[in-house]
């Protein structure tokens, strides 16, 4: 026989009386000695900490009690399906709390370093070609509106560069996929980007910066590496996934912490970005070998780009990309 004290509320109303409740060996709830109902027919709220429990009787009256332990013992004995009672069992002990903390950190770390990149890769490769084309044209027209200007190179020179891209595409086994867009880089200067659908944007300044055409070819090989691995789409998927993950961790905590989580998000995204650059470098080197062009051309071009941008103090170049000496060393490796 379990006994506990509580308040019995009228159905849907505030009128209440203090009652002594009891549950006998057969699982029948009695209030003030009067049998009411079988325990298994009652609606019992889940335990959270030590807040009062709400026990709803079949006729709509409510029995409220602060005696959580008594209710737990009765539930254990007479309830077949016990809802989320397991949650309270985890929350009750410090041991579980410490284990949960360690697991949270471990799972969070794994999700950020492995899970997000893996999921992003899956999403990027699942997208249909049409989606890549739409997103790419969108990006190109935005870039054209905001920073890029029409190329000032002669048509003959443009055709030469386009021919270089065809050679790289052929080496990559898919010559029809790549399309060259030459532009005046404006304030972004010497640069090259790959869009997911195979469009490769190269600025006039980059072409002029190159000492020989093999260096332009090396940059194109690097960009083709980005296209093949769908890095552009992966980046969109990564930042979405990371945003979701960080909202999960910090969302309920506070507005201020959500803002503070922007910093780790930035650090993680630039670390993902550096991994992409390493991948694209490695693929670029492979393609250059196939074309019989020494990979040192890529290394030389990276150094020239760093001189150019480094002189202007562009740190973003360094943070989203691995340090140039490291890349040069990796390229030089046999």
């Amino acid at each position: 026989m379990e006994r506990f004290a509580g308040w019995c509320y009228a159905k849907d109303g505030p009128q209440r009386i203090a009652v002594q409740a009891s549950v006998d060996a057969a699982g029948v709830l009695a209030m003030g000695g009067v049998a009411q109902a079988q325990w298994s027919t009652l609606g019992v709220s889940d335990r959270v900490g030590n807040i009062p429990r709400r026990i709803t009787l079949p006729d709509g009256r409510v029995l409220e009690t602060a005696d959580n332990d008594a209710v737990d013992r009765i539930e254990l004995r007479f309830r077949r399906r016990r809802g989320t009672a397991w949650a309270h069992r985890l929350e009750r002990r410090w041991g579980w709390a410490v284990a949960a903390l360690i697991l949270t950190v471990a799972v969070g770390w794994l999700a950020a370093t492995r899970g997000v990149p893996l999921a992003a890769r899956g999403v990027a490769f699942a997208l249909p070609a049409e989606a890549l084309a739409v997103a790419s044209q969108q990006t190109l027209s935005t870039l054209d509106r905001v920073v890029l200007r029409p190329s000032g190179l002669t048509e003959a020179r443009q055709a030469e560069i386009a021919d270089l891209l065809r050679r790289v595409g052929a080496a990559a086994g898919d010559p029809g996929r790549y399309r060259l867009e030459l532009r005046d880089g404006g304030r972004i200067g010497a640069n090259a980007f790959a869009l997911p659908d195979g469009t490769v944007i190269v600025t006039d300044q980059l072409v002029q910066l190159a000492e020989v055409d093999e260096q332009v070819l090396a940059v194109l090989a690097h960009e083709v590496g980005h296209v093949e691995r769908r890095h552009g789409m992966q980046r969109i998927a990564q930042s979405t996934a990371l945003g979701l993950l960080l909202t999960l961790v910090s969302g309920d905590v506070s507005q201020v912490l959500s803002v503070a989580s922007a910093l780790p998000a930035m650090l993680l995204e630039s670390s993902y970005s550096r991994d992409f650059e390493r991948e694209a470098d490695a693929r670029g080197v492979e393609l250059l070998h196939r074309l019989g062009v020494p990979p040192a051309n890529l290394a030389r071009m990276l150094e020239r780009l760093e001189e150019k941008h480094g002189g202007k103090g562009r740190t973003s170049w360094l943070s989203s990309h691995p340090a140039t000496p490291e890349r040069v060393r990796a390229i030089a490796k046999p």
Binding site: Y9, A10, D12, D46, G49, N50, E91, T104, S250, D252
Partner: protein, 360 residues
């Protein structure tokens, strides 16, 4: 019950029965365990558990807040919250994808969302109110689209355009919108904070702002290094103290200003708040005490990489509860006993309500 509100803080004396002060029984350690288990389960279930976590958290805070020995209750089910979150996530995902692929659609959707926002805010306040009860009596919220529209868009824009001269008008409109929308047991709340006194609060806050600006500018101009002065370690120290320090202080100062306005504004609104035209309320937040809670919580949470967050939530809930009181016109139990039973109160209609959440 324990001390009356007047023994804790100074609030205006209201004639009639003594104050019933809110009591908060939540414990930092107890809530930390709930919080960390929630966090882990949210991550391993890719966010699905967040609905369950939300319900457990809300139930903990409601159930730990007591008035005259009876706790508040939160009744939403995780499935309701989950439905709301899935709808919200789908809308956000559609908008974000449209941003990458079809910008015109993203613009159209954003406009549609903005137009829907007042309705969503009303729905969300209504859901939350209806899922809350005290002594088996439910709260409710009824707001009109245009009142919400005014509070969400018109007045904030007007305040910003007038360099916050209209901010107190906005503040009053929010207080009226909320107070006049809430119901308890079908009885309406009402509030009409005097505009003049709101302006006084905002002027005081403006004074604080000027004071800080003066300190900040003063440190910048007072210590310009003189030519010929030895440069070196001393110069970098000065840079740290006079250039970096004001920037570091900017966040706590912003929080101080917000806490000041919030505490004083809440006290003023509660002083004029009524339920059923008879029962009165009081809030006695000290602007400095409240600011200390807010700033201390932020600092401790950042220093512990977020681990203090659950303790911070408990700390501010306790501070606010213990400085909030009800002055029933007659005995509280008598008032409650006089409320009619609400046949719809716990009916099936609620199980169809979707837990759309939006902060206001």
């Amino acid at each position: 019950m324990g001390a009356t509100l007047n023994e804790l803080v100074s609030v205006p004396q209201v004639s009639g029965p003594r104050a019933a002060v809110l009591e908060f029984r939540g414990q930092g350690g107890e809530y930390f365990r709930i919080w960390i288990v929630n966090l882990l389960l949210k991550i391993v279930t890719l966010g699905i558990y967040s609905a369950w976590a939300k319900v457990r958290t809300k139930r903990y805070f409601y159930g730990s807040t007591l008035l005259e020995g009876a706790a508040f209750e939160y009744h939403a089910t995780p499935i309701q919250i989950l439905k709301g979150r899935l709808i919200a996530a789908a809308l956000i995902a559609v908008n974000s994808l449209a941003g990458h692929f079809l910008p015109w659609l993203a613009v159209a959707l954003t406009i549609a969302y903005l137009l829907l926002a007042p309705w969503v805010v009303n729905m969300s306040l209504r859901f939350n109110a209806r899922m809350s009860s005290y002594r088996n009596v439910r709260f409710d919220f009824q707001g009109t689209y245009w009142r919400a529209f005014l509070v969400l868009f018109v007045l904030p824009v007007a305040s910003a355009l007038t360099l916050w001269i209209l901010a107190p008008v906005w503040h009053r409109a929010v207080a009226r919108y909320l107070a006049q929308g809430y119901r308890f047991g079908g009885r309406p709340f009402a509030a009409d904070p005097p505009l003049g006194r709101l302006y006084v609060i905002y002027l005081q806050a403006f004074g604080l702002l000027m004071l800080f600006a003066a300190i900040l500018l003063g440190t910048m101009f007072l210590d310009v290094p003189h030519p010929g002065e030895p440069q070196g370690d001393g110069a970098s120290w000065r840079f740290l103290v006079f250039m970096v320090l004001p920037i570091v202080l900017l966040v706590p100062f912003q929080l101080l200003l917000l806490a000041f306005i919030r505490a004083k504004g809440r006290n003023l609104v509660f002083a004029g708040l009524t339920l059923d035209g008879r029962h009165r309320f009081a809030s006695g937040l000290s602007p400095w005490g409240y600011a200390w809670i807010v700033i201390g919580n932020l600092a401790a949470t950042l220093l512990t990489l977020g681990l203090f967050a659950p303790f911070a939530q408990i700390r501010s809930a306790r501070y606010t509860a213990e400085r909030t009181a009800v002055y029933p016109a007659s005995d509280l139990s008598e008032f409650l006993a006089g409320l009619p039973a609400d046949p719809n109160a716990f009916g099936s209609e609620f199980s169809d309500l979707v837990g759309l959440e939006i902060g206001i």
